[in-house]
């Protein structure tokens, strides 16, 4: 598909510099980057939040003016001639502005009119777009009544209405569940195959990189590497290993592995540990780790990404111990058999719609338990009921052996809750937030002072004590949110998509803290859209349309879908297969 004529790129960027005013002078968003796109290719722009992805996309679309450097989009400069660029390309912003009170058809018509599409060509174009996106049956529906995934598809269709030869997509899959994400990618692939379009797609999901012809890694406004995914994988091939210890989870040992010399990256995967080494020689397990088996595994793009990023991110102190956050371990870490959360026949209706339908599961003390599901599967509703934010219609909910409904104050005292969105008082300082939340949980006097000091030290927040929490850097905000949830040493932690928008390094750091808590005996319940994070869980449930579709540890769930054509399924494969299996009952041709 990739035409081998690099001499005439469809888009050229050179020496692009963009700064924004900030309280401390000017902040550099893009620091002199250069690249070009070959016609008919799919290029992925990969980087964590805040890397400069959206800034770059907006510069290309003529919505920002660069400080210096040049851009040529099909021969036009978007800074001096925005209308020519905007009349040609397709651009889908991250928050694509669908008019929610217009129907699918009316949204399409609007964009067709704005692009002065002749009426004779429209019917064919609409037909092909609607069939491609599967929106055909819903043309009369208001855009606001579509599901999240369908909205993204409609946004894509609106962007494609004038057959743009170049398509800029800014994080089209953010907040979209894995099933819809796969469907969107299928549409994009088809588009390249049918129309020869050139795609430039930004994403924060590292696993999506593998779907691109070429990858640009953007980190802190700089390009850390570009090339096809194989190139990145080749760089680290033979350096990835899986460590297994029969019969036990390696959660407690992960920090020791991470601090081994020669280890670049270590991540939990179910009971096993995935390691990336500096060389192809297998690393030695840490002393006293017991019986550890190491086996080489194929390299992933993510490994190369971590290697590149870690080279840049200097100043990471690996010797630093993960801090102890609790004065005393909850119930002395007796992990066996004790139930921390038990849910029985949990049901919630909104009018005629049953959001959660007789859900039952139980979580053991010290377990990391994941709650997964597509958008609208009932995850959030279940989670809110667990947190006591929503009363269940039926069923019993027990936290630490106490009925949530009968003694809510007791249950709340034993809960730590971290919401999906940063939800502390942005205008209060870090200290004011910590003091307020700790007093809300009844801490006062010397004890309160001690806790605030200790937690702040553990999360490295002391230097930001008097900073307004809204002005904290992203990673520190998440730390503060977790810190606030931990002030009263809750034995149960509820985390709702805690790492969304976090940079992969910060994410690893965050999970190390969670792991250390779990080792202490804290029960952690978590929801996530990142499938790799689902791998960190001891056990998980997958919800679908309010019911439990599968429950078990990651290995068990993967095993359920393993078959001849999918011998080594990833958790995402399992998720998608299970969900589509549920959508089309067994036996039906699909």
């Amino acid at each position: 598909m990739v035409p081998d004529d690099p001499a005439s790129p469809i888009l050229t960027v050179s020496g692009l510099l963009k700064t924004f005013p900030s309280p401390a002078g000017r902040e550099t968003a893009l620091n002199g980057i250069s690249f070009d796109l070959a016609p008919g290719s799919v290029t992925g722009l990969i980087g964590p939040d805040g890397a400069g992805k959206t800034t770059l996309m907006r510069l290309l679309a003529g919505l920002f003016i660069p400080d210096s450097g040049s851009i040529a989009v099909m021969g036009h400069d978007p800074a001096s001639d925005p209308l020519s660029v905007q009349g040609t390309i397709g651009y889908m912003p991250q928050k694509f502005g669908l008019y929610e009170d217009l129907t699918v058809q009316e949204n399409l018509d609007l964009y067709a009119d704005l692009h002065s599409l002749p009426s004779e060509g429209r019917r064919l174009r609409y037909a092909s777009l609607l069939s491609m996106t599967g929106l055909g049956p819903f043309t009369g529906r208001l855009a606001g009544n579509l599901s999240g995934g369908m909205k993204q598809k409609l946004g894509l269709a609106c962007t494609l209405v004038h057959r743009p030869p170049l398509l800029l997509l800014d994080e089209p899959t953010v907040g979209v569940d894995p099933v819809s994400r796969r469907e969107l990618w299928a549409i994009l692939k088809q588009l390249v195959a049918d129309e020869g379009s050139t795609l430039f797609v930004s994403t924060a999901y590292l696993d999506e990189a593998e779907r691109c012809d070429k990858i640009l890694i953007l980190y802190n406004g700089e390009i850390l590497g570009s090339g096809p995914p194989e190139m990145f994988r080749r760089e680290v091939s033979g350096r990835s290993f899986r460590a297994t210890s029969p019969g036990q989870s390696l959660r407690a040992l992960e920090p020791q592995f991470y601090r081994l010399p020669g280890i670049v990256d270590s991540v939990l995967q179910g009971n096993t540990l995935r390691l990336v080494s500096e060389s192809t020689a297998p690393p030695d397990p840490p002393p006293g780790a017991g019986q550890i088996q190491l086996e080489p595994v194929p390299a992933r793009f993510e490994d190369a990404f971590m290697v590149r990023v870690l080279e840049r991110a200097s100043g990471i102190d690996r010797s630093r111990e993960t801090p102890t956050l609790y004065d005393s371990a909850p119930r002395n870490g007796n992990r066996e058999g004790e139930t921390a959360i038990s849910v029985h026949d949990l049901t919630k209706r909104f009018g005629a719609f049953i959001a959660v339908d007789r859900v039952a599961f139980s979580v053991l003390r010290g377990e990391v338990f994941g709650l997964l599901g597509a958008n609208g599967a009932g995850k959030t509703t279940t989670f809110r009921m667990l947190a006591g934010l929503l009363p269940p219609d039926e069923g019993v909910l027990t936290l630490d052996g106490m009925d949530m409904r009968r003694s809510p104050a007791y249950a709340r005292q034993r809960l730590g809750y971290m919401a999906q969105k940063f939800s502390l008082y942005t205008h209060l300082t870090v200290r004011q937030n910590l003091v307020f939340y700790s007093s809300a949980y009844g801490l006062s006097g010397v004890r309160q002072k001690e806790r605030v000091q200790r937690v702040a030290r553990a999360f490295d927040l002391e230097s930001f004590f008097e900073t307004q929490s809204g002005l904290l850097p992203q990673g520190f905000r998440q730390r503060l949110a977790l810190a606030a949830a931990l002030m009263h040493e809750p034995p149960i932690l509820l985390l709702d998509e805690p790492t969304s928008g976090m940079d992969p390094l910060a994410r690893r750091e965050f999970w190390r803290v969670i792991d250390s808590l779990a080792v202490l005996g804290v029960t952690v319940m978590v929801t996530t859209h990142f499938m790799e994070e689902a791998e960190y869980c001891d056990r998980l449930v997958i919800l679908d349309r309010g019911r439990i579709l599968a429950v078990g540890n990651p290995a068990e769930i993967k095993a359920r879908v393993a078959g001849p054509d999918l011998p080594n399924p990833t958790l995402e494969d399992a998720f998608v297969t299970l969900l589509s299996g549920a959508a089309a009952p067994a036996g039906s041709a699909r």
């Binding site: 209308l83 905007q86 912003p93 694509f96 704005l114 002065s116």
Partner: protein, 382 residues
């Protein structure tokens, strides 16, 4: 680097503008809240204000204390009773009347001293004591005027019956033009229309455009061939039509429900309303271009358009009587000019010497605001 905001009418201009207008109109009809702001709000506001605001004191309770009943004092009290504005309430003595005044049960006291009748008969000084409650200065002044009139009438009647007394050397003959019944509603309601139209024009557009920013639809629109002029025209036209509809409702209510005469002509009313609405929409567009957030835009719209239209437009408080700095300030309130036009068109008729200068001011405001909006809006997110 920046190109002029006004790139001329490019090919396809009409088609794109029409598409934007159709889109906006569909949204208006599907969003009950904008229809409510445009049609229900003027209706309700005009009802509340129309009935709630009245400066006409009618049936003001006046305590009457007659130390001794005489034909002379009875004649004065009868005059009081015949006044449409005053209602006499007898009190046995001055102390109870004062108490009633203190508790605001009555707004004034008419005290006829014991020797009133005798002194009148003997053509000597007869003390008629009047006390008004000065707390509400405006009402107090009106009450004073009414009591004065009653007294003069009574005096004149006695003069006719009696001999030539040459008592009142100078008589005042008042002629009120345009509003002979002197109903405050007749001048308040035209002013209210201006206030309500400000609210609709500025608040509605400010909220609507800010909503596009908030929902991200503006960014998507920007990356289409639609120019900024086309986007603005596409916003302006539907809300202009909607605003004129709201205007129509208020005018019909004013004439049909409140019986305000419309002495001027419909075309003049329509034309000047169009000018005012353009200025108000211009302000709304400007506010939302600067604020880009519905909450802030709404607050600014209320503070910089609604409050001044209410207080500084001369619709209820006389501009001439304000301190000089505030009088200057009123010149930058478009509602001031529209209030003047409306009061004239409704009560006096098409009087060019009032309408032309005010209409020119409105046109300048409209041009000014729209030009600024065009100049500062550009298809950039910075």
């Amino acid at each position: 680097m920046r190109r002029p905001a006004f790139p001329g009418l490019r090919p396809g201009f009409k088609g794109r503008v029409w598409a934007l207008i159709v889109k906006e109109s569909r949204q208006i009809f599907r969003d009950p809240s904008s229809l409510a702001i445009a049609f229900a709000l003027p209706f309700v506001l005009l009802l509340i204000f129309g009935y709630g605001i009245s400066l006409d004191a009618r049936h003001v309770p006046i305590a009457v204390v007659q130390d001794a009943r005489t034909p002379a004092s009875e004649g004065l009290v009868a005059g009081l009773r015949n006044s449409p504005w005053l209602t006499p309430r007898p009190y046995p003595d001055i102390h109870s009347a004062v108490e009633a005044l203190k508790l605001a049960r009555v707004d004034g006291i008419l005290w006829l001293r014991e020797d009133f009748g005798r002194q009148v008969l003997s053509f000597r000084n007869a003390p008629v004591h009047v006390v008004v409650d000065g707390v509400d200065a405006n009402t107090a002044r009106l009450v004073e005027g009414y009591l004065d009139q009653v007294w003069e009438t009574w005096l004149a009647q006695r003069n006719q019956r009696g001999r030539d007394l040459s008592i009142v050397p100078v008589d005042l003959e008042a002629r009120l033009w345009f509003n002979p019944d002197n109903r405050s509603r007749d001048f308040l309601i035209p002013g209210l229309i201006a206030v309500i139209m400000t609210l609709i024009g500025a608040l509605l557009t400010a909220l609507i455009v800010a909503r596009e920013w908030e929902r991200g639809t503006m960014e998507a629109l920007f990356v289409t061939p639609a120019s900024i002029l086309e986007i603005l025209v596409g916003k302006f036209v539907p809300y202009f039509v909607l605003g004129m509809g709201g205007m129509g409702i208020t005018v019909v209510m004013a004439t049909a429900l409140f019986r305000i005469p419309l002495r001027g002509s419909i075309p003049v009313l329509t034309l000047t309303s169009a000018l005012f609405l353009s200025a108000a929409l211009g302000m709304g567009l400007l506010i939302s271009t600067l604020a880009k957030n519905q909450f802030v835009a709404g607050q600014i719209a209320i503070i910089v358009t609604f409050l001044p239209a209410f207080i500084l437009s001369g619709f209820i408080f006389d501009i001439q009587s304000m301190p000089a700095p505030i009088r200057m300030l009123t010149h930058i309130v478009p509602a001031r000019y529209f209030v003047s036009i409306l009061q004239t068109v409704f009560l006096a008729g098409d009087i060019p010497s009032v309408i032309v200068p005010n209409a020119v001011a409105l046109a300048l405001f409209a041009l000014f605001f729209l030009a600024i909006v065009l100049a500062i809006s550009h298809k950039r997110l910075e």
